[in-house]
């Protein structure tokens, strides 16, 4: 087997292990309209990054998204590859969620023309427990959606499975 074949096989094995490991982690459950809402926001913001807040609940070993809330990207001068959510938006949504017996369960942002994998910038400012959803947008069209949780001890993100229901 050639070196190129070995590298291809290694990437395949790594990808399979990544997906198998992801299957053991809490699933992010959202409805199709939620996904489309994030996708539309990502398309509208392209080539800049969009961002927003996810409200929901944690039960039965999963994170259930009840609503998706677009937020302004405060990084107006660097929105092509950076995002920052106005803390006042999170403050307001935290209160709104509490009144409904829910909570801020995570956040989403887009990666224009970039894989939906957490970057060094994502890791540098990540908080544990939250679900970080990344929507990849290629040439203005949404492609893949991924979900991640930051391990504060190992300082790495771990991928979580997503289930989209009607």
């Amino acid at each position: 087997m050639s070196g190129a074949d070995n590298q291809h096989e290694d990437r395949g094995i790594g990808e399979r292990r990544r997906r198998e490991t992801a299957a053991c982690r809490a699933t992010l459950i959202l409805r199709a309209p939620h996904r489309e809402q994030m996708a539309q926001h990502a398309r509208d913001a392209y080539p800049g990054e969009c961002c927003g807040v996810l409200l929901g609940t944690r039960r039965e070993g999963a994170v259930w998204v009840s609503s998706v809330h677009a937020a302004d990207n405060r990084c107006a001068d660097a929105e092509r590859d950076r995002y920052e959510i106005d803390p006042r938006a999170i403050l307001w949504l935290d209160h709104a969620a509490a009144e409904q017996g829910q909570a801020v369960v995570g956040f989403y942002h887009s990666h224009p023309d970039h894989p939906p994998r957490p970057s060094a910038a994502d890791a540098a400012q990540a908080w544990p427990e939250y679900i970080y959803v990344i929507m990849a947008v290629a040439a203005g069209e949404d492609t893949e959606l991924t979900a991640w949780v930051f391990d504060d001890e190992r300082k790495v993100f771990t991928e979580h499975p997503i289930r989209v229901r009607a």
Binding site: R18, E49, C51, C75, A78, D81, R82, Y83, E84, I85, P87, R88, I90, L91, D94, H95, A98, A103, V104, V105, F107, H109, H111, P112, H114, P115, R117, P118, S119, A120, A121, D122, A123, A124, Q125, A126, W127, P128, E129, Y130, Y132, W148, D152, K155, V156, F157, T158, E159
Partner: protein
């Protein structure tokens, strides 16, 4: 007096899972000290060793960021609400930190 304090999900492991707790004090510093006495370790998540509010943490008294008030000397009353709001930011970059 006891002031209501909202706790974000990442810090609830320190508050026995509670999203809302109460701390005693008439200024923010006192309330946070009381929280530390109740829930050891929480202050270290908010402030660094030099006593500066961590960059990725926002503290609000009602709707006002305390950085624009009197900081830890901000007065609080029974009807006020303190909120700990994580700074959420990031973006794509060349390197990846994932598995």
């Amino acid at each position: 007096m006891a002031v209501k304090v909202r706790i974000p999900t990442p810090l609830q492991s320190l508050t026995n899972g509670e999203p809302e707790v109460r701390g005693r004090g008439s200024i923010l510093r006192e309330v946070l000290a009381d929280l530390e006495a109740q829930f050891p370790g929480i202050r270290g998540r908010l402030y660094d060793e030099a006593g500066n509010l961590r960059r990725f943490v926002n503290l609000y008294v009602n709707d006002e960021d305390v950085r624009f008030l009197q900081g830890e000397d901000t007065a609080v009353g029974e009807t006020d609400e303190i909120s700990i709001i994580p700074a959420i930011a990031g973006g794509r970059a060349v390197d990846t930190t994932w598995r």
